[in-house]
Amino acid sequence: MPDTPAIEVTRLVKSYAGVTAVNDISFRVARGEILGFLGPNGAGKSTTMRVLTGYLPATSGSVRICGVPVASQPDEVKRHIGYMPENNPLPEDMRVSEYLYFRGRLKELRRRMLGPRIDEVLELCDLKRVRHKIIGQLSKGYRQRVGIAEAVLAEPPVIIMDEPTIGLDPHQILIVRDLISSLRGRMTVIISSHILPEIEVTCDRVLIINQGRVVAQGTPADLRREILGRTSYQVELAGDLAALPVLLATVEPTLQVGAQGEPDAEGFRKLTLTTERDADLGEALLRALALPGYRLRALSRTNPTLEDVFLAATRRSWDAKSPELPKK
């Protein structure tokens, strides 16, 4: 079944004691794709991931991993996934290699294969130096990598990691990012994260959820266009601001002055100009603002980050939801 999607979630709902943590989520992940899962705290990311692994039962809806339904064949599904939970729980009093051996046996790797595979994974995650250390004494970065090593140990087709880069220093984040990228094409990976640039670099596709609903999905570039819908320019300018809109309209009719800063000692202000046009207006703006009466010090086109998209998307869903919220 090479054409079945690796993960298929249809109308998933999960509620705990009256609180709906996940509300009607549907998405698909193709094989070999890396999906980033974004959302504010309490959005339902971890719950969704737990349902995907079969650890928690769904209230309604269906989840299929590699075509196998989680609800009716949880054991089969567990053979297809590698899972690293939130906060990466590890036993405190085991050595790294012992732990990996134990986990490998539980994941039904054959004893003969297990030794070489553990060496391979230790190499991959740069854990060779600490293989005989006790996990409880390892630093956060090492523990995190032990968790990742454990998730990829059995070479499952689907890997689910809940905040794999939390608490790591930039160098370690780079290692983890390379590690995840190296899985691209071979394994399907879902990662959740708060660190947005991380997701932007690593993931093929991003899914933003808020309050248990999908508020946006697509590639980072798609999301920028779809959610923000406009390009903005940052200029530092001195001169007559009242005449500025008229001047800008001659360059591009949709160009508008957004936020304005206070003038500094030399009379320059920081202005944000926004437009709905995708094409680069930099040159036209430079010409227009070179007119007498204006002094231009800087002009740059701002590239909206995923952070802006994320904030815009979650704010939009808050706005859409807030009138319905019951007052307590």
């Binding site: 036993p91 039904e108 454990e150």
Partner: protein, 253 residues
Amino acid sequence: MKHFFTLLSHEIRMLLVSVSTYIAATLFLAFMGFIFYTILESYSKAPQEVSPAYVFFQFFWFPVLFMVPMLTMKCLAEERRLGTIETLLTTPVTTTEVVLGKYTAAYLLYLTLWGSTAGFFYILRRFSGDVRFLDPGPLTGGYLFIAVSGLLFVALGVFASSLSRNQAVAAILCATMIFGLVFGLSWLAGSTALNPDVLQPVRVVVDYAQVFTHRDDFTRGIVDTRQLLFYLSGTVLALIFSILGVEAKLLHS
């Protein structure tokens, strides 16, 4: 049951590297040694009617009350507190395998600790040179009783551990359950509360479930299948409840 032995060997290893195991073992052997010493002292002063083994097993309840909680309190409570139960149950193992693995490991350790008290009798035999001190009847019966009742006590400990993520709570709960089983039922049998005719069936049940009577029967060499059944069914029930306990906590976590 594919993963049972993987889990069992893991659990035994974990018990062997844990400090609480050694504390329990030391306290247990020190206490049993003290009891044995007191018994020998009284035997050296005056001749007694029963063999030392019989008296020795009279005190079975005291080590059980503190040793079983120490051996079992960690097993499920710790997994839940650390969250490792989540990684454990997302591999192709079932809750039943996990609970049985932990139970068997704790039970084997319990047997080993009690087994080591056999050394006391060996020393007695070796240095007294008197075969009468080593009466094989009460000795075998006593150890058999320990093995059979241990099934239920350890299962109760595992059950208590499945109910809480706090080890101390699990330990206290386990000690309370064992206390209730051993002393509560014996008190109930002696009280007048069960005298009314309506409560006769209850009285019959309570009379069967007397741990002290079972001990006396076993040490006298009587092995009653009803008593075996009492411990076996109790064990199965406690283990089923432990499995349900773990799964229920997942559903409501």
